[in-house]
Symmetry: C2
Subunit: 140 residues, 2 copies
Amino acid sequence: MNLSKTSKYAFRVLGYMAKDEKALYSARQLYRENNVPEKYLRRLLTHLSKFGFIKSIQGRQGGFTFARDISKIFLIEIVEAIDGTESIRGCILGYKKCAFNFSCPMHDIWEDAKVHVINTLSNTSLKDIQNKMVETDSFL
Amino acid sequence: MNLSKTSKYAFRVLGYMAKDEKALYSARQLYRENNVPEKYLRRLLTHLSKFGFIKSIQGRQGGFTFARDISKIFLIEIVEAIDGTESIRGCILGYKKCAFNFSCPMHDIWEDAKVHVINTLSNTSLKDIQNKMVETDSFL
DNA sequence: ATAAAATGCTATCAATTAGTAGTATTTAAC
DNA sequence: GTTAAATACTACTAATTGATAGCATTTTAT
């Protein structure tokens, strides 16, 4: 059960972009408004482009905009693209084969909570959080 | 939502020890049976002693045994001792003040899943997983 | 007493993840 | 065509986390 800082950054930025889903955002606006280090975000944005969540428009007046319908971009896709599938779905004890051939001692107890998390992330799209954005300064 | 590798190691070892809750285990037996690097586990064991989960008995014929009733050692205590309280309870976007003065855009959607995880970890003691242990080799 | 078998401590190394710097490339305005 | 404003790329640095090494200390068996 792991959510890297990078995934958190992605959530912040994509959530922010979802507010106006058709708009074109410059990297500058995105790192300023979401408290993500500039260069780190720039790299993350090109990754998110390669993953197909957003697309970049180069050159003067360029920026980033969604590449797909945001009602079809689910949070779990974002985490899995960045942190890998094991990060969320993996065994709580870190055993590779757990739930495949065998179950670890904590498997049953953990399964239920894990499924709940996976379902939440799988059923929530960027569209679902579209109108929940607040002033980001509030969170500093 | 974070569970470090170290916490996973702690779960493995404490879960293993719970099988025979009154027994005295040597570090040697513990790292062999639970696939945790020797030196790393030794350090972890002294941490777990300082946290009060287990106690160490020094000298020849020494080892580790539980310091408290295992029906009162809940999984969440273990994670929080090792990874800190924010690791599980923190904001999904990583904002410090979220849920204090303000809520982040994903707060509501995430809250439910998070509470589920926290409840599972808070309500599960080492006693609860006592008889679920299997051969550890199975997970390699 | 001494040796053996255990834990304790501290410093260091390695791997992973997060963050930065600098330059190249693309495109539109003029 | 030149400049300005944007993204793209690559190599490097820093911070965190995981792992190791080596020696010190404690206690029991002999």
